[in-house]
């Protein structure tokens, strides 16, 4: 049973639109992450947070921004979507200790036309 939720599951929008991808977790995890994944490809870290009011950019440069006002909520925003932003965006959280790995949400598949 997934304890981390992403909405929407699929999104098709026009170029230039502002969008926010939602990610919420009910596990009380402090550490949360956003990965970008093109079909059949590896995952690239674009943002992460170690707790409330903590946000950092990941290894892959991204034009998106994130916020962490509440522990359970880690939304990702694109101010002006472009076709190059078309991809799958995966949110993940990490519990205390590494032994349990990351828990991923179901992802948002974004298409910008």
């Amino acid at each position: 049973e997934a304890d981390i939720y992403q909405t929407p599951r699929y999104l098709v929008i026009g170029t230039g639109k502002k969008i926010t991808l939602e990610c919420s977790q009910t596990m009380g995890h402090d550490k949360m992450y956003w990965y970008q994944q093109d079909p059949g490809m590896e995952l690239h870290l674009i943002h992460y947070s170690y707790g409330v009011n903590s946000t950092e950019k990941g290894d892959l440069s991204s034009e998106s921004t994130v916020s962490r006002i509440r522990t359970e909520h880690f939304p990702l925003t694109l101010e002006s979507a472009r076709p190059s932003h078309t991809s799958q965006y995966l949110c993940a959280s990490e519990g205390i200790g590494m032994a349990y790995g990351y828990t991923f949400g179901s992802g948002t598949r974004l298409t910008v036309v």
């Binding site: 992450y33 990965y35 490809m41 870290l45 990941g58 590494m98 790995g101 991923f104 179901s106």
Partner: protein, 109 residues
Amino acid sequence: GQQVMQIPQYQHVQEGEDFTTYCNSSTTLSNIQWYKQRPGGHPVFLIQLVKSGEVKKQKRLTFQFGEAKKNSSLHITATQTTDVGTYFCALFNDYKLSFGAGTTVTVRA
């Protein structure tokens, strides 16, 4: 940061056969994790290996961490159609997970 190379990139397996996928690093790893992503799905954590030479089993899946902690392998016996997907190894770089490119497994019935 540290990186891993996964081989092969694609693995086409006859149902019932065994196969192994590898994750190699040029540097010593503190630990390594394995994830499985079904087609159209999201990565799901399988296991973490920490100790040199460690071997862990999950039913038909056997995970191994090399003695030098520079490589890891995933061996699947008697492959089933439910094994279809992409298997990623991942390592911690600056306390964040970096994923390999994955091995995508298809199964011929």
